[in-house]
C-alpha cells in the first residue's frame, strides 16, 4: 500500500477538526475492548503468561530459519504449495500465476493486514479479478473505499448511521435499517460470493512449525468459509508468525483473543494443515492450498539489534485500544496499515524511518501500551530508539534538536537548571505556550502549568 505517514500531523489535525465523530466512535469502541480485556484477565497471572509467551516468541525468532524450514517441510508433505515472497511485488507475481492458471474471476477474502500491507486488492483488481472482503467490517470499508483503521476492528471509526447510509446506497436497504437487517443483507450478498468464488484468501495468525499448521481466529465464520468453500485457498503469512510446537498453540490462541476482545477464544478458530477435498480423502474443502511466506521488510527488522523484538507482535490491538493518542484519531491518521503504538514501531522498521517519520513521536510516552502487551514488547523503549535515531540522522526539525541540546546542557548544570526552573514557574501559561522551543510541542498538547514552588525549594525546606 502507499504510505502516507509523513503527513501524520496534518491528517491527525484534519480528523480531529473535521470529523469529531471519529474520535467519539473510536474512543467508545476501544474503551469497550479495554474493559473486556481487563475482565478476561482478572483471574489470571498475567505476568506469568506474558513472560512465557515472550519466551516462546523470542525463541521462535532466534531460531526462525530452522522453524520456517520445518513448517515448509510439513506443509509440503501434506500437499500444500509453499511460496516465498521477498517483497510486495513478489506476492503480486505469485497471485498473478495462480489467478491465470485457474482462470480466477472472483475472490473471497478474509481479513488480512498483510494483504493490505502488500496492496493485494488493487493488484488483483488490475488483473480483472473481482475481490470481495467478507469480514463485515472490512466489507463496510471496502464499500466506502477506505483502509482499515484498527487491526482487529477495521471499521470501528464508523457509526451505525454511516453503515446505514452506505448500505442504502449500495445494497438498497432502508435508511433506518436495524443492524440485524444490515448484517442479513451483507450475509446474503456474500453467501452467494462464497459459493461462486474460485479462490479464497486468508492471512494467518500463527504458523506452527512442528505440524505446519496455519491458525486463524475470528468471530463471523467468514474465515472458515473463505478457506473451506472455494476450490483454492491461498494463505498469506508473515515469516514472523512462527510458533515452534503444537503444544504452544492453545495458549497463544487464548491470549490473543483475550487481549483483543476479552473473549476466551474467538467464536471460530481454523487450524489448517493442508488442502482438503479429494487429495486429503475428505468430503469437501479446497483441493489446492498455497501458503505464501512473506518477508517485505521483516528480515531487516529482525537484523535490527534494538528493534527486532517488535516482531513478537501477535496483532491483538491491545496497545491501540489503550493508547490515548490513537483514541483521538483512529488509525487513518497514521497513514500506514499498522497504526497505534505498535504501528509507530513497525512502520519505520518495515518501510523506513524517513518515510514514516513523525509516527514514533505520535505518543505521549505514558507506557500504557507496554503494560497490556501479551508478549511484553517494550513499545515505549522502541519508540524512543526511533526518536533518537531520527535526531541523530538529522531528520527532526532544527528546533527539536536545539531543545534537546538545551535540555542536555541545562540538565548537567545545576545552577542554570535552578534558575530556569524558577523562571518557568513565574511565566504565565500563555507565555510558556508560545516560547519558541515549546511552540511545536504545545501545538498538539495542553501545556502543563509549572508548580508554584520548585522541587529544589521543597527539597531544601525538607519534604514531609
Amino acid at each position: 500500500m502507499e504510505v502516507h505517514s509523513r503527513d501524520y500531523r496534518a491528517r491527525a489535525r484534519r480528523i480531529i477538526a473535521e470529523t469529531p465523530e471519529v474520535r467519539e466512535a473510536v474512543t467508545a469502541a476501544t474503551r469497550t475492548f479495554v474493559d473486556n480485556r481487563r475482565e478476561a484477565y482478572a483471574d489470571l497471572d498475567e505476568n506469568a503468561l506474558s513472560r512465557w509467551a515472550e519466551g516462546v516468541k523470542s525463541h521462535a525468532l532466534t531460531h526462525l530459519g530452522d522453524y520456517l524450514e520445518e513448517a515448509e517441510a510439513r506443509l509440503v508433505e501434506r500437499g500444500a504449495h509453499v511460496h516465498w515472497a521477498e517483497t510486495a511485488s513478489d506476492v503480486h507475481q505469485i497471485f498473478e500465476l495462480i489467478v491465470r492458471e485457474h482462470g480466477v474471476q472472483k475472490v473471497v477474502k478474509a481479513k488480512s493486514m498483510l494483504s493490505e500491507e502488500v496492496g493485494l486488492n488493487p493488484f488483483l483488481e488490475s488483473c480483472g479479478v473481482e475481490v470481495l472482503e467478507t469480514d463485515l467490517g472490512e466489507y463496510i470499508i471496502q464499500l466506502l473505499d477506505e483502509p482499515p483503521s484498527h487491526i482487529v476492528g477495521p471499521s470501528i471509526h464508523k457509526s451505525l448511521d454511516d453503515t446505514r447510509a452506505i448500505f442504502h446506497e449500495r445494497l438498497g436497504t432502508p435508511r433506518d435499517a436495524s443492524p440485524e437487517r444490515l448484517a442479513a443483507a451483507a450475509r446474503e450478498l456474500l453467501r452467494d460470493a462464497f459459493l461462486t468464488a474460485e479462490l479464497g484468501i486468508s492471512g494467518g495468525n500463527f504458523l506452527v512449525a512442528e505440524t505446519g499448521s496455519i491458525a486463524l481466529i475470528e468471530n463471523e465464520g467468514n474465515i472458515r468459509l473463505s478457506t473451506s468453500v472455494p476450490p483454492i485457498h491461498v494463505a498469506l503469512v508473515g515469516i514472523e508468525k512462527v510458533l515452534p510446537r503444537w503444544a504452544d498453540l492453545s495458549t497463544f490462541l487464548q491470549i490473543t483473543a483475550k487481549s483483543a476482545t476479552g473473549q476466551p477464544v474467538g467464536c471460530f478458530v481454523s487450524i489448517i494443515q493442508g488442502p482438503g477435498g479429494s487429495p486429503a480423502g475428505e468430503p469437501d474443502g479446497p483441493e489446492e492450498l498455497h501458503v505464501v511466506l512473506v518477508d517485505n521488510g521483516r528480515t531487516r527488522l529482525l537484523a535490527d539489534p534494538e528493534v527486532w523484538e517488535a516482531l513478537r507482535c501477535v496483532r491483538c490491538g491491545a496497545c491501540l485500544n489503550i493508547c490515548p493518542v490513537y483514541r483521538q484519531t483512529g488509525g487513518h491518521a497514521y497513514g500506514y496499515v499498522y497504526s497505534g503504538p505498535i504501528g509507530a514501531v513497525l512502520a519505520p522498521g518495515l518501510v523506513g524511518l524517513e518515510e514514516t517519520l513523525p509516527l514514533p513521536f505520535a505518543s505521549s510516552a505514558c507506557g500504557a501500551c507496554a503494560d497490556v502487551c501479551p508478549v511484553r514488547i517494550p513499545i515505549p523503549d522502541l519508540l524512543h530508539v526511533w526518536r533518537q535515531r531520527a535526531v541523530e540522522r538529522g531528520l527532526t526539525s532544527g528546533m527539536e534538536r536545539s531543545v534537546l541540546d538545551l535540555l542536555a546542557s541545562t540538565g548537567t548544570r545545576p545552577g542554570l537548571f535552578r534558575w530556569a526552573e524558577k523562571v518557568a514557574g513565574l511565566l504565565p501559561e500563555q507565555v510558556v505556550r508560545h516560547l519558541p522551543m515549546l511552540r511545536e510541542w504545545s501545538a498538539g498538547r495542553e501545556t502543563p502549568r509549572a508548580a508554584g514552588r520548585t522541587f529544589h525549594e521543597l527539597w531544601d525546606e525538607g519534604i514531609e
Binding site: A28, A29, T32, D43, L44, D45, A48, L49, R51, W52, G55, V56, H59, L64, G65, L68, A85, D90, D135, L136, G137, G153, P154, S155, I156, S159, L160, D162, T163, E180, A183, A186, E220, G221, R224, L225, T227, S228, W246, A247, L249, S250, T251, L253, Q254, P264, V265, C267, F268, I272, Q273, A280, E282, P283, D284, L293, R300, L302, A303, W308
Partner: protein
C-alpha cells in the same frame, strides 16, 4: 524466482540471528499460569477449594464447566444420559426444521428424520465433534466430517460425548495431535459481529445458533431454556 527468494530470505534470517544470543524455549506453560475456565467467574461451578485462585482449571467437572462457558458465548447446551434419551430429544428438536445436511460421521440413530438437503439449502446442519474444551468453551470439529454442513446451514447441532470433553484447550488439542485432518476447527459459539456501529449481531456468516448435545452426561433436571 521462488527458489531464489527462499534462499535469500533464509540467509537474511540466519545473518540477522548470527550475533544474537539464542533464547531457549521456556517449556510447558506453568500450570499455575494456565488460563482458568469459567469456574472462578461463576463460583457455583465445581465449588471445590482448589478451583479458586489463579490456576484452578483442574479438579472440576469439565462437562459442567464447558456448559457454562459455551452458554456464556451464546451457545446452547443439552445433556442427554444415553442414546435413547438423545433420540427422544432429537425427534422433538427436529420438528422445528424443514431439511437437514448431515456430516459423514453422524451415526444413523443420531440423524434427524428430516428430508436431506445440500448444506447450502438445509435449515439444519448436524455433525459430531472429535472433542471439546471446557477452558475456552470450544467444540473441536474435523474436516473429515465435511465442512459445509458445519458452516452453511443457519443452525448447527453438534453431538459430543461427555468423555471427550477435556478441561483445558491444550489437553483437547493434544488428543488430536497424532492424526490431524486438513482442518481442525474450534466452534465456541454462534457466528457474531459488532462491526456495525459496535452493536452485537449474531448469525453473520456462519450458523447463528449452535447447540452442543452432550451424550453420556447426567441429564440436568432443567434443560437450558433456549433448547
Amino acid at each position: 524466482m521462488s527458489r531464489d527468494a527462499r534462499e535469500r530470505i533464509l540467509s537474511r534470517v540466519r545473518d540477522a540471528n548470527r550475533d544474537r544470543e539464542p533464547v531457549s524455549h521456556p517449556g510447558a506453560l506453568p500450570e499455575a499460569a494456565e488460563p482458568p475456565g469459567p469456574f472462578s467467574e461463576t463460583g457455583e461451578i465445581g465449588d471445590t477449594g482448589e478451583a479458586g485462585g489463579v490456576g484452578g482449571v483442574r479438579g472440576t467437572d469439565p462437562v459442567r464447566a464447558f456448559e457454562s462457558r459455551f452458554q456464556a458465548a451464546g451457545g446452547e447446551v443439552i445433556r442427554l444420559a444415553d442414546e435413547a434419551a438423545a433420540r427422544g430429544w432429537l425427534e422433538d428438536f427436529a420438528s422445528e426444521f424443514e431439511s437437514v445436511a448431515v456430516c459423514r460421521g453422524v451415526p444413523g440413530a443420531l440423524q434427524p428424520a428430516l428430508p436431506a438437503a445440500p448444506p447450502s439449502e438445509a435449515s439444519l446442519g448436524v455433525s459430531v465433534a472429535v472433542g471439546a474444551a471446557a477452558q475456552s468453551g470450544s467444540l473441536l470439529l474435523s474436516s473429515r466430517e465435511g465442512r459445509r454442513a458445519q458452516l452453511l446451514p443457519p443452525v448447527h447441532l453438534v453431538w459430543v460425548r461427555a468423555l471427550d470433553v477435556h478441561t483445558t484447550l491444550g489437553d483437547a488439542l493434544q488428543t488430536c495431535r497424532e492424526d490431524l485432518p486438513a482442518v481442525l476447527a474450534l466452534h465456541s459459539g454462534p457466528s457474531k459481529s459488532a462491526d456495525i456501529g459496535q452493536i452485537l449481531v449474531t448469525g453473520v456468516h456462519g450458523p447463528g445458533r449452535i447447540i452442543a448435545a452432550i451424550l453420556g452426561a447426567d441429564a440436568v433436571a432443567e434443560p437450558p431454556g433456549a433448547v
